[in-house]
């Protein structure tokens, strides 16, 4: 009863000093999208949408963003676990390193990837010498570039969830004789699932919109490496209306997927 009263008091009046900037921020974020909608060439939309290039770029974008997310989940969750539970020395430095791709301009990330994984790169050289394979200009290269920029989103999200999780459940599992791997699989992972999903969704959205690292590392060739953001950029050179249409498609797809995922899995406190 007391709790309910207090909650109402907290909810009571919304202070203008918070509401006004909040509305400004919302307008700032939403207006450019409304601009896209207003300026979209609705009349010629169907024919522009059905062109083969749009379908090709969209399919490639979805495949690459999803594959990159899978890569990030498989490698990122263990890394997040290490950061949250690892008890390793120099953890602060590792955490800082993990966030580097977040602040690195993606184009620089792309060049860095070339220097390591390119045909003459530190590691890529051997890949090329031994197997005759090089990542740049391939769809696999797009996935690598996207995973590079998107992985920190997943790692940070999962690490946050792991830190917030109650360690007593893990301790209980351990006292009952569970190994660390079993504890991780049966206790830790289910308890941080909302964090994992939120991280994966963020990661996927970041990968879908990835431009700089992709175009630098993987180049651009229709059907192989030209994802939607690259197609938008190239379309701007010749036909801005085509670029708007491509952007709308990207926008619609990401909004639809994010909304669907939020409703299904990520309801509640995140």
């Amino acid at each position: 009863m007391i709790g309910a009263t207090r909650r109402r008091a907290v909810r009571g009046r919304r202070p203008l000093i918070l509401v006004v900037p909040a509305v400004c921020a919302l307008a700032f974020l939403v207006l450019p999208m409304i601009g896209l909608l207003l300026r979209a060439p609705w009349r010629t939309l169907p024919e522009r949408l059905t062109s083969a290039e749009v379908g090709q770029a969209l399919r490639l974008s979805l495949v690459c963003a999803t594959s990159a997310t899978v890569v990030c989940v498989v490698f990122g969750i263990p890394l997040a676990w290490l950061l949250a539970r690892g008890e390793v020395r120099g953890l602060g430095i590792i955490r800082a390193l993990v966030t580097v791709p977040l602040v690195l301009p993606p184009v620089v990330g792309g060049v860095a990837l070339l220097l390591v994984l390119g045909r003459r790169g530190v590691l890529g050289r051997y890949l090329y010498e031994w197997f005759g394979f090089s990542l740049p200009f391939t769809t696999a290269g797009v996935i690598v570039a996207e995973a590079f920029v998107a992985m920190p989103f997943l790692v940070i999200s999962v690490e946050g969830a792991l830190r917030a999780a109650d360690p007593r459940y893990e301790e209980a599992a351990a006292t009952l004789g569970a190994s660390r791997w079993l504890t991780f699989r049966r206790v830790t992972l289910p308890s941080v699932m909302p964090g994992v999903i939120a991280g994966a969704v963020l990661c996927w959205a970041r990968a879908l919109g990835e431009f700089g690292a992709t175009i630098t590392f993987a180049g651009s060739f229709p059907g192989t490496t030209t994802t939607m953001p690259l197609a938008v950029y190239l379309a701007l050179e010749t036909d801005p209306e085509d670029a708007i249409v491509l952007s709308l498609v990207l926008l619609a797809v990401s909004v639809a997927v994010l909304a669907a995922l939020r409703d299904r899995w990520t309801r509640g406190p995140l």
């Binding site: 003459r120 090089s134 651009s220 060739f221 190239l234 050179e237």
Partner: protein
């Protein structure tokens, strides 16, 4: 700690002095003022150099550059950017500005550029000519056909009757050059000036069909130039023998 604060204070003081000097030149500005030049990204090296020479020849006048893609610069001028001079890497973008009524004088072609085959140092793909661009085993980078260097490449391939097999179509010529510099591709088509600017890491191979896609660079003072006198002086300077020597040194053809 104290020492680093001291350094910071010194740096701050120097910066303040510099700002002070800036206001002192207000008298000079009345005389020569600032001339704002929008120029194609491929002119970055030569125009920066020529800007210094122009400032030396016209004491009190300051040249400020905005470098970028000609298409983007033309768009900014049409949107009302306060610019005195526009130097475009393609007549098409200059024409857009003329059509918008931003240029009333006749634009002048001041340099020409043409394509060259760029290969990494040592020519690992043993590329000898344009015909190698049709070989699937060679890694090839070209500009996207939407951008000027890609359109020029299309013209030379059509003239040579060759269907290229590119592995990537980059968004601009610098991105193509990066792929060559890092040795990720065996050959690419870029401008002659880009090959020269890249230094030792890139070798250039001339090819006869390059004459079919000569790229003209027009320059013009803008109709609404805030500093019309300096704008006219700068355009004239770009056509001088002194400027031509700089352009020739960078690999441009001068008309």
């Amino acid at each position: 700690m104290m020492r680093s604060i001291g350094v910071a204070l010194t740096v701050g003081a120097v910066a303040l002095t510099a700002v002070g000097c800036g206001t002192d030149t207000a008298a000079d500005q009345a005389q020569g003022g600032t001339v704002t030049v929008f120029a194609a990204a491929s002119l970055t090296g030569t125009f920066t150099e020529l800007g210094k020479q122009f400032e030396a020849a016209h004491p009190g006048t300051k040249v400020v550059f905005g470098f970028g893609a000609s298409s983007a610069l033309a768009e900014q001028i049409k949107q009302g950017a306060p610019v005195d001079v526009f130097a475009s890497a393609a007549p098409k973008n200059m024409q857009q500005v003329v059509d918008a009524g931003e240029v009333t004088a006749k634009p002048v072609t001041f340099v020409r550029n043409r394509l060259e085959i760029a290969v990494p140092q040592g020519n690992p793909g043993r590329v000898t000519g344009l015909a190698d661009f049709a070989k699937p085993e060679e890694k090839i980078a070209l500009c996207a056909e939407q951008v000027p260097c890609g359109a020029a490449a299309k013209t030379v391939f059509e003239a040579a009757g060759i269907t290229p097999q590119p592995d990537t179509r980059e968004a601009d010529v610098k991105a193509v050059l990066t792929k060559v510099t890092l040795g990720e591709v065996d050959a690419a088509l870029v401008y002659r000036t880009d090959v020269l600017a890249a230094g030792d890491k890139v070798q250039g191979l001339d090819f006869p069909e390059s004459t079919t896609a000569i790229n003209d660079y027009p320059i013009a003072a803008l109709a609404k130039a805030p500093n019309a006198a300096a704008a006219a002086a700068f355009v004239e300077f770009i056509g001088s023998d002194q400027a031509r020597a700089v352009f020739a040194g960078a690999g441009f053809d001068t008309p």
